[in-house]
């Protein structure tokens, strides 16, 4: 029989990762097979993407430092990067997990020790952090290993220390968060946690993006890289000396004596485990109090008076009411808002960071691009960005998935299915319009595009965005994901979202490549793509409104 703690830990891991591996029987279904293949491809692409990014940085850094015999500085860089990354992830993940306190509160009725409840949660955070540290360190070990052929035990110390690196950040994150969440009623609300966690996460992601862009820019310039690493501009060596897990890691991999390396690794693991265990023991009781006193939304007291009632209960056209319902339900749910409409703001910010971080290189690149921007690229680039932003909100492609069980109630109301579908489309197009403005006008002005080209880009982006949003709504009307308990499943974990976002990326990139290869006149591309978008939009629109009503009538969550 498994111990209760192991069962709790297993449940916690399963509920967070929610990975269902299909059985052989399930794989007989082409749909399941295709879906599984899609997920594997996505996982490989994501892993390869991050792996490639770190590998390129490590290789660039190694090759730049090798002539000075200082290539081992690359290992310090990797250790510090892994330490910082796991710290960020540990903090954000620990904070976010408080939002599931209402569900976890059920465990308070079971015979678990407070420290066990917190330890299971911390172990789940660790399971998210550890692969990140492992990825960064193993790539660095691989790059360094290929180029320097170190002894075998180097790899062992690298990887064992990679597993130790996340432990101290985990303990420190809870040591910081527990008093904060205990003391603040404001932080014990799901909405607040989701918004605060979401915004901190985005800020950290942007910060990390800035850091990567800066590093990439410097790696390409040996003088700047030397300044960065050898002159210790970013204090890598200081961070490695000051942060005990990083120092122990460097001691382990930099020591030729095996007992010393072993002792340093053991000390690293012991220090992390001891601190994490201490945090679980010390804060266990506070954790159970947080679980017991976690409030979701604040009730608002107060009557609607007679004088107010006339305004509050003023009738509106049904369609306006339907659109307003869509707007409220999407934008008041932090999970939906941050991963949906907020993307329109986030992506331009990331773009701006890249431009600023890579300052001089980007300026040079723009100078080189100038002749190109005078051609079809002048309107195709802003149009492409506008189309992507307008289609990346996931509003249309999750429209019915988000309604899930409410579909039954909606269908029992005297509402024409086409009105429900149209309201969802209008909701998506309202935000698409914002995306088009940010993408086309913003990028157009930033790149100094001529007004006539901005106007052409606007028309093209509107046609493309409307078509892709209709297409997204077709997908979610025909194949909605209606069975879920966590809103995340309706949006972030919805295959429709991935299909539409990756599909849009592929389409924009494909059209870009096509435009570079076809010998057309400047505005011929606008005519061609505009006509194709218009025809496709009409086609998808007819399909949506002709067949959508029947699909909606048959929708069964």
């Amino acid at each position: 029989m498994r111990s209760p703690f192991i069962s709790l830990l297993s449940l916690s891991l399963k509920s967070v990762f929610a990975i269902h591996l299909p059985t052989q029987k399930e794989l007989a279904s082409p749909k399941v097979l295709l879906k599984t293949f899609g997920w594997i491809v996505l996982a490989v692409v994501l892993l390869a993407d991050f792996g490639f990014m770190f590998a390129m940085m490590d290789i660039g850094m190694h090759d730049a430092l090798a002539p000075f015999g200082m290539q081992s500085l690359m290992l310090i860089y990797a250790t510090v990067t892994a330490s910082v990354l796991v710290f960020l992830f540990a903090f954000i993940t620990s904070l976010s997990f408080f939002s599931s306190a209402p569900n976890e509160a059920l465990f308070l009725t079971m015979p678990f020790k407070p420290s066990e409840l917190l330890a299971a949660r911390m172990a789940t955070v660790y399971a998210i952090e550890a692969p990140i540290a492992f990825l960064v360190m193993s790539i660095a070990a691989g790059v360094y290993g290929i180029k320097n052929s170190p002894p075998f035990d180097f790899y062992v110390w690298m990887l064992l220390n990679a597993l130790a690196l996340p432990l101290v950040p985990l303990a420190v994150s809870y040591a910081v968060l527990m008093p904060l969440v205990s003391a603040s009623r404001w932080l014990r609300r799901k909405n607040t946690i989701l918004y605060v966690g979401g915004f901190i996460g985005l800020a950290l992601a942007l910060g990390f993006n800035w850091y990567l862009q800066t590093m990439m820019a410097r790696i390409e310039d040996p003088v700047l890289l030397r300044k960065l690493l050898i002159d210790n501009e970013l204090n890598f060596a200081d961070i490695a000396n000051w942060w005990p897990p990083a120092w122990l890691t460097m001691t382990a991999i930099g020591n030729s004596s095996m007992p010393a390396a072993f002792a340093a690794t053991l000390a690293n693991l012991a220090l992390g485990t001891a601190l994490a265990a201490a945090a679980a023991t010390i804060f266990g009781r506070s954790y159970t109090k947080i679980l017991a006193n976690f409030g979701e939304l604040a009730a608002v007291k107060g009557k609607i008076g007679r004088s107010q009632a006339q305004a509050v209960f003023a009738p509106r056209p049904v369609f306006i009411s339907l659109v307003q319902r869509e707007l409220h339900l999407m934008n008041r749910e932090p999970m939906y808002f941050l991963n949906g409409p907020f993307v329109i703001v986030l992506l331009p910010v990331i773009l701006a960071i890249s431009l600023i971080a890579q300052g001089q290189q980007i300026q040079q690149a723009l100078q080189q691009l100038r002749p190109l921007l005078d051609g079809q690229a002048g309107y195709l680039i802003p149009a492409g960005i506008g189309v992507f932003l307008a289609s990346s909100t996931s509003i249309a492609c999750t429209a019915f998935s988000r309604d899930a069980k409410a579909i039954y109630f909606l269908k029992s109301l005297p509402l024409e299915p086409r009105d429900i579908i149209a309201a969802k489309l209008v909701h998506a197009l309202l935000f698409a319009a914002l995306g088009i403005v940010f993408g086309v006008v913003g990028v157009g002005l930033l790149l100094g595009i001529r007004l006539v080209d901005i106007a052409v880009a606007l028309v093209l982006a509107v046609l493309g965005a409307v078509t892709l949003n209709i297409c997204g709504l077709v997908i979610d009307t025909f194949w909605p994901r209606l069975s879920w308990e966590n809103p995340m499943s309706a949006l972030k974990r919805n295959p429709n979202t991935i299909i539409v976002i990756l599909g849009t990326m592929g389409l924009v990139a494909g059209l870009g490549a096509l435009s570079a290869s076809l010998p057309f006149q400047k505005y011929s591309f606008a005519l061609l793509y505009g006509t194709v978008f218009l025809a496709a939009g009409i086609g998808f629109g007819v399909l949506l409104f002709r067949k959508g009503s029947a699909f909606l009538r048959q929708m069964e969550p």
């Binding site: 608002v300 609607i304 006339q310 209960f313 509106r316 039954y408 069964e556």
Partner: protein, 303 residues
């Protein structure tokens, strides 16, 4: 009581003996699970009556309600609401009823008044009418102070009360409630029963589902019992009592021994001296009918 809420033109709509909700030969199999949730179900629900729809969990009650409200389509059969075919004139038919769904946690990100406004807009209710209904029912269900609150901040009982108000906002002739008593406090449950009686008394139809015989017995004029998608009894309480008597005579036992199953006996619902034998035996009979899944003789199954 509640005159403004039940001024639903009952007299204009009501014709002598007219069946206000009629389900004929309804069947439904869920495509995903292959479960036959409703099997050849025929129900005639008259106006001016409170009709209880009983069955254990998974019997097909909610599926039947979803079919009769147009939320899902039946594989076969027809639904008439006030004589209007739901499949042919869905908009018109849907305007004739108000529904209290079994999941009260819909639209948790809306505020209570926003939800009521949405429903009122859908039914085209005038400002003065919606204010009248909301004020009266919110006061009756002690929800007046919570109308500005997000639905997500409300308890299950409060959400159920909100759905009750929303279902009556357009003063429907037919009131359909799916497990409405669950989660309500005693005061609200009493208020709901009063409302149901008032609605029926004014000529409207009340159709509600429950899995508790006692609830049905205290409120219903008519009832139907469903199990595994099939009707095992339709009639009134008197018919159910007659069935109990006949079963008792057939088995040579006193009427109390209406439950041949172990669970009913173990549950203390039969053969308890000095207890309310009428209630206990009907509960036991309900359990017996459900567990046997038996078909009731033609002469008993009548309205």
């Amino acid at each position: 009581m509640g005159a403004p809420i039940f001024a639903h033109n009952a007299n204009a709509q009501k014709k002598a003996g007219k069946l206000m909700i009629e389900l004929t030969n309804i069947s439904k199999t869920y495509a995903k699970s292959g479960t036959k949730a409703v099997d050849s179900l025929t129900l005639r629900i008259p106006d001016g009556a409170i009709f209880g729809f009983l069955g254990p969990n998974g019997a097909g009650k909610t599926t039947t309600i979803r079919i009769m409200t147009g939320a899902i389509e039946a594989d076969s059969g027809s639904v008439l609401i006030d004589g209007i075919d739901l499949a042919k004139e869905p908009m018109e038919a849907k305007r004739r009823f108000g529904l209290v769904p079994d999941t009260p946690d819909l639209f948790s990100r809306l505020r209570a008044y926003e939800y009521l406004n949405f429903v009122a807009d859908v039914y085209g209710v005038s400002a003065s009418d919606r204010i009248t209904v909301i004020e009266e029912l919110a006061a009756r269900f002690e929800l007046s102070d919570a109308l500005k609150s997000p639905i997500g901040s409300m308890s299950r009982g409060m959400r159920m009360k909100l759905n009750l108000i929303a279902s009556l906002i357009h003063k429907p002739h037919n009131w359909i409630l799916d497990e409405p008593i669950v989660g309500l406090d005693p005061h609200a449950a009493f208020a709901l029963k009063e409302l149901m009686r008032a609605h029926a008394a004014s000529g409207g139809t009340v159709f509600f589902s429950t899995h508790v015989m006692e609830v049905a017995e205290r409120i219903c004029d008519k009832l139907a019992i469903i199990n595994k998608g099939k009707l095992v009894f339709t009639g009134d309480l008197e018919g159910l009592r007659e069935l109990r008597e006949s079963r008792g005579r057939l088995s040579g036992q006193v009427p109390l021994v209406g439950a041949p199953n172990f669970s009913a006996r173990e549950a203390g619902m039969v053969n308890i001296e000095g207890a309310d034998q009428r209630e206990e035996s009907l509960e036991a009979l309900f359990l017996a009918l459900v567990e046997e899944g038996e078909q009731v003789p033609e002469e008993v199954s009548k309205l």
